[in-house]
């Protein structure tokens, strides 16, 4: 055999690797989280290794402290028993499985069991007696040990024949499951549990039920003449309206782009970039600037026609306008895929069977689009439900779930359980829609173009219909442009509604740069949050892309037991509204074993796991375009799956990688809903800074800052388009089938990943 001839190593090399990592974590690195940044290495000078704040677990144990960590050290040494054993030996796999599983679960158990005040669980205290020891959040040492146990476990799985005995694939699956479990499922579950906790800190199902079914959430007073309905009904009603309207508009635009001979389809596609680069509440701000009490249009109507100013726009009408503006492009992206995906030969067949254009549209085209319409509706529904920025600035007395959660946490009452319950209701709605989208629609796609040789041209719409869609599309486009011009213009206006003279004041105040004795001085008020945002976005983008593409690789290229729940789990965070993630992170990561609130890490983590589906979708779309035989031939030529991933798949995925990088960067810059719970004085983000200015009625600065953000992201997206675009031209020279499939790579990736991109909510 090709590889078995190599000298039999005394201990299998991967085992050595993970044992080393584990022992490094146990015996060398500080076990607990540090106050200072680990990478400054200042802990080396704080009495390391004996000071118990920075000591490795080994030194803690030797000094008789935290003795419950000692078994971990012993477990890490057990794999030495595999000396001179080969991987195919059944004992090899069994030992690793046992060590990995025991070690990992023991690590979790002691982490959750022993907290800041000794035992977390009263039954443990009664069982083992009181404990003097207490412990803090886990640090780098614990992280490495956890990784070591995890990968020893997956190595054991591989050795026992899981996923064809492939270590890389087994390890990747284990890694993804572990991080998704810890950073998506665990926080949600902890939030769920906290929903049962009363203000006095005791578990109570009664309090839970009374809160869950309270009038505040489910009241229907507005139907019977009362002042307001429950927030759940408000959210639901708004989301359904937004879903219907955006779907209709999306269909109109898709028809304009593909069925009317409209020559500027590229312009329409360019417009779809707007919601991606616009922080979600900016549209709401612009609506206020136009239609608010002191809005430009309101004042104009007042002076010209004598229509008195009113607060009509604060509430359902304003929210509807803002969300429809923000989410129509998403519906357009879904619908254009659906409309283009209908094989032209179906429609041509209908025409040869003597159907007129109108009859063809009505009897063939439209029914074939039905699943796509439902899909677009559900996306609009989820986006509207999850939207946080617009209701915050525009909601008025029309309360919705996402803002209600926020006020439960930051408001005077600080009711974590109430927030958790509201989050559960919101989660139930979005997950319901998500479930419907995946399992009900998933099996009903009529997309008939297989990608190969289906010649033919889509027929044009009947003239009347064409004129209608043109008119609607033109009106909407003008309105959108009007909104953006307003934002740009308003950033130069002294005091909107009072003093319309132009000024640079807002920009100077936020983005001034000066000199002092230390050199360049970022004196503007916005710089601090701006650089933090850029830093956090730059750190989280590559992580998001990496984890997304790895997941996509597993989903597209590997078969393993439990793949369907795995896929569902990884895509789930798409349906979890940002506010829910925010609340659950606050609940879960405020106390040991994972103590992250107030750090930059928690922001990075929330972005990585919120945006992971973007990377997964981009990766899945482009990887499905790469013929599977390429991997297989690499494998039969002797490369292992890691080498194949690195040398064949990654190079072919370059455009998708770039797209995933840029989109996760942009999403990290525009997101508001999750991070508004997670920011701290040290780590403030642009969007939460802007929302803060809006709350202080400093609209000028907020708008100017938003305009800068939009501009920065426009540049980022533009540069990416240039790079990806030139790549595509470069490939066209290749010709042939493979080049064809590669050209599809970036286009498909773009089209399919974008629907998930907006809705930072």
């Amino acid at each position: 055999m090709r590889h078995s001839s190599q000298a039999q190593a005394t201990l299998y090399s991967t085992v050595v690797l993970w044992m080393t990592v584990g022992l490094l974590g146990y015996a060398v690195l500080p076990w607990y989280g540090l106050d200072s940044n680990f990478f400054t290495l200042s802990w080396l000078f704080d009495g390391y290794p004996f000071n118990s704040d920075v000591a490795p677990a080994l030194f803690l144990n030797l000094q008789g402290e935290k003795l419950w960590l000692a078994p971990i050290g012993f477990l890490l040494l057990i794999p030495l028993a595999l000396w001179r054993r080969r991987k195919i030996d059944p004992a090899f796999g069994s030992v690793l499985l046992a060590v990995g599983a025991l070690g990992f679960s023991y690590l979790l158990l002691q982490g959750f069991g022993i907290g800041l005040r000794g035992w977390n669980w009263s039954f443990a205290a009664s069982l083992f007696g009181d404990l003097d020891g207490r412990q803090f959040g886990m640090g780098w040492g614990a992280l490495l040990v956890a990784g070591a146990f995890l990968f020893l476990f997956t190595l054991g799985c591989a050795a026992r024949g899981a996923v064809g005995g492939d270590e890389f694939v087994a390890g990747s699956i284990g890694f993804i499951i572990a991080v998704v479990g810890i950073f998506i499922f665990m926080p949600i579950i902890q939030m769920l549990l906290s929903a049962f906790v009363t203000q006095d800190g005791v578990y109570s199902a009664g309090a839970f039920a009374s809160k869950l079914f309270s009038e505040r959430i489910w009241g229907i007073a507005c139907v019977t003449g009362g002042p307001r309905c429950g927030v759940a009904w408000n959210s639901l009603f708004l989301a359904i309206l937004v879903g219907v309207v955006t779907t209709a508009l999306g269909l109109v635009f898709a028809l304009v782009a593909t069925r009317t001979g409209f020559r500027y389809g590229a312009v329409l596609r360019a417009l779809t970039v707007l919601p991606i680069i616009t922080p979600p509440f900016v549209i709401g701000l612009a609506i206020i600037l136009l239609f608010g009490l002191s809005g430009a249009v309101t004042q104009l109507l007042d002076s010209a026609l004598g229509i008195p100013a009113s607060r009509w726009v604060y509430g359902l009408p304003g929210l509807l306008i803002a969300q429809v503006l923000a989410f129509t492009p998403i519906a357009f992206l879904v619908m254009i895929g659906v409309v283009e995906g209908i094989s032209p030969s179906m429609e041509e067949a209908a025409q040869t069977l003597r159907a007129s254009r109108w009859q063809t549209f009505r009897t063939v085209s439209l029914p074939l689009m039905r699943p796509g319409l439902a899909n677009a509706f559900l996306l609009g529904f989820i986006e509207s439900m999850a939207d946080f920025g617009n209701p915050l600035v525009l909601g008025g007395n029309f309360d919705v779930l996402s803002t209600e959660i926020f006020f439960a946490i930051v408001g005077a009452q600080y009711d974590q359980a109430q927030a958790a319950i509201l989050a559960l209701v919101l989660l139930a709605f979005t997950l319901g829609a998500f479930y419907a989208q995946r399992f009900w629609l998933g099996k009903k796609s009529y997309t008939t173009v297989s990608g190969k040789g289906d010649a033919g041209v889509h027929p044009h719409l009947p003239p009347t219909l064409r004129n209608i869609v043109f008119a609607v599309a033109a009106l909407w486009t003008l309105f959108t442009l009007f909104i953006y011009v307003t934002i740009f213009y308003a950033s130069f206006v002294k005091l909107w509604g009072v003093d319309f003279s132009l000024t640079f004041d807002h920009y100077v105040k936020s983005f001034a740069i000066g000199w002092n004795e230390f050199g360049l001085h970022w004196s503007g008020a916005a710089w601090s949050s701006f650089w933090t945002t850029i830093e956090i976005a730059l750190i989280s983008a590559p992580l998001t892309a990496a984890i997304g593409l790895l997941t996509a690789y597993l989903l597209v290229r590997q078969n393993f037991a439990g793949k369907e729940p795995f896929e569902f789990g990884t895509m789930l965070s798409f349906a979890i509204p940002g506010t829910v993630i925010g609340v659950s992170y606050v609940v879960a990561f405020n106390v040991p074993p994972i103590e992250l609130t107030g750090t930059g890490i928690i922001l990075v983590l929330s972005f990585v796991f919120r945006n992971m589906p973007v990377g997964v979708r981009a990766g899945v779309a482009s990887m499905s375009q790469i013929d599977r035989s390429l991997d297989e031939s690499s494998l039969t030529l002797g490369a292992n799956s890691w080498q194949t991933f690195r040398k064949i798949i990654l190079p072919l995925l370059k455009p998708a990688i770039l797209a995933a990088l840029v989109y996760s960067f942009v999403r990290a810059m525009t997101a508001i809903s999750a991070i508004i719970f997670l920011v701290s004085a040290r780590y403030d983000m642009s969007t939460s800074y802007i929302v803060g200015r809006v709350e202080n009625n400093e609209y000028g600065i907020a708008i100017a800052y938003s305009a800068v953000l939009i501009f920065v992201m426009l540049v980022v997206i533009g540069v990416m388009q240039l790079i990806v675009g030139s790549r595509r031209i470069g490939r066209r020279g290749l010709g042939g089938d493979l080049a064809q499939s590669r050209t599809n790579v970036s286009r498909m990736a773009g089209a399919q990943s974008q629907p998930t991109i907006s809705g930072g909510g």
């Binding site: 055999m1 090709r2 590889h3 078995s4 195919i88 024949g161 064809g164 005995g165 492939d166 078969n559 013929d627 035989s629 390429l630 297989e632 031939s633 690499s634 494998l635 039969t636 030529l637 002797g638 490369a639 292992n640 799956s641 080498q643 040398k647 064949i648 190079p651 072919l652 290749l734 010709g735 042939g736 089938d737 493979l738 080049a739 590669r742």
Partner: protein, 358 residues
Amino acid sequence: MAQIKSNAASVEFRKVSKFYGKSTVAAVKDVSLLIEAGKLVTLLGPSGCGKTTTLRMIAGLEFATQGQILIGGEDVTRLPATDRDVSMVFQSYALFPHMSVRDNVEYGLKFSGFNKQDTREKAQAGLDLVGLSDYGERLPSQLSGGQQQRVAVARALVLEPQVLLFDEPLSNLDAKLRRHVREEIREIQQQLALTVVYVTHDQEEALAVSDRIIVMNNAVVAQDGTPRDLYDQPANAFVADFIGEANILPCEVVGVDANTATVKLGPITLRVPSAHSAVGTAKLAVRPNRIQVAASGTPDTLPGRLAKSVYVGSHLELVVETELGNVFVVTPDVDAVVAPGQDVGLGFAGRGPVLIRD
């Protein structure tokens, strides 16, 4: 100068079955076979018969659900593709589009522990062997289909695998090129004495290149033999009909002795080779070109009436209605004047008809 050598080894399947996922329908059912070293063996069958699954199990791209697979006498049943000494030429060629032809050919060598110079020399030798010495720097997409095919062969050959696999290698080539490339493949195989397993659904291709053909149908081996065996002595109706064309006629075996059986076919009596037949009703397979058309009433002929006559250049295709059903006949005598409606007699030569199992 580096040479491409052969490390040909045998392949053996012992009662191998394959079920995909939770499916209860076998893709390959209880297959046992032995492919000798240095032979070109074809897996032939209609789509979905399990031939490609069988090939992929040899490659290690699929794992057998039950049974044992041996290559060169060693058990490789659980060994993944990476660790098997087997190379494969894919239907789509699967050349890496982002690498030059040379990088493609060197790809596998880099993972096999060769140093830089050996890698380079071996790759060049491989390209020389397939006649693409000067194409190393091109990208796959700058080559024609036939050239891409040859790069794929070179890439697989340079690893000097124990077994070389071909998955429908000619299906993306046009008809003229197919004949040429299949002769090249056969030539290289014989020159280097490689063990080659070749999958195709084209029976003509299979007959032309193979030392042995394994015909598969519905996940099992339908027949295993030399091209001549399969054509002249099909074991069952499926093989008779799949390899070439055959008339399957009902008959009755009235007597069996050592080597021959006496068979009543309608009104006439024939003596045909008997392998394992017993007295009773049976089926007789007769190739269209093994039937002679004679004047009506000729002794020992099956009377019939000509229903259709189609002139296709090199021969005539006739359909004759008989009491046993329609019989398809091919006759090289294109000048014979035959008109539909005419009564004829069909004669069966001694070597033509074969008794088959149902």
